[in-house]
Amino acid sequence: MQPFISFEDKVILVTGASVGIGQQTAILLSQLGAKIILLATNEDKLVKTLSLLEGNGHNYFCYNLANIDNIESKVKEMVKQCGKIDGFVNCVGIRSRRPISLLSPKEIKNVMDINFGSFIELIRCITKKGHFNEGLSIVGVSSIASHIGGVSVTAYAASKAAVEAAVRCLSKELAPKNIRLNTVVPAQINTPEYANLLQMNGGVDTVLNRQYLGLGEATDVANAIAFLLSPAAKFITGISLPVDGGYLTS
């Protein structure tokens, strides 16, 4: 009997792969047989993540996605070195917290470029002829902030809402090429980012009052990503899947 999910010899790009959800996703996908292309800005952390992957044939690329104009040449380099891409998971993102009084156009542009613009540019480059294999599947990581809002996270929430809207558009546009796109929508997940947030709030997290399954783990999100990325989800495209411990139903 075939395993429910297998990525044997599939080439999967994971951005934001050096920490949290991105790192956990890379580890899980490697356990399921994939050859991972790790992409993030910090080389030391990338090397650490690489050491946590199972199997062989993984690669890493140190790159700052804020540098949108050079993404195309980076994707070409990846394909040349690692082969055509079967899957792309976008976990990169900056969690900007700014009250409106200090939310400058420069800050908005920075957040939108990294959280939204680089995602679209990566999709544009990966979906070019010769850069992907039949059945390409793409998963973006959104945030529950894009659905419920939050004080001082205007730019962040808007950037994630933009990601979800783009995925709904592109799932239609790219369906003729047999490319699927989906997003996962995590709520509070136990990551280093969450630890920082909790420390800032004096250890109090009111979101958990409504997240009735408690605090999520990065593996919970990685499992959902692996499912959407896999052929087991071949009839699912354009959706935003909450991974929220029940938040949106409370």
Binding site: R97, R98, P99, S101, L102, V151, S152, Q199, M200, N201, G202
Partner: protein, 72 residues
């Protein structure tokens, strides 16, 4: 930046009437100094003084002078 200039910047950013704050003003007696103001102060210190203010540090501030000292 002088302390007076820093105070003016804090007043402007937190939308406190100019001339309200002095170095010795107790933060607990400033009505506008709420959780949103604290978040604003964190961003202000990062933007203007390139200093990362933690939640723990901000909770230790008692007077306006504590903020000024942190700003350096």
């Amino acid at each position: 930046m002088t302390n007076q200039e820093k105070i003016a910047l804090i007043e402007e950013t937190l939308e406190i009437d100019g001339g309200t704050l002095t170095e010795n003003t107790l933060l607990s007696e400033v009505a506008e100094y709420d959780s949103m103001a604290k978040l604003t102060l964190i961003v202000l210190c990062d933007d203007e003084f390139n200093k990362k203010l933690t939640g723990e540090q901000i909770r230790s501030f008692v007077t306006v002078k504590d903020i000024l000292d942190f700003m350096g």
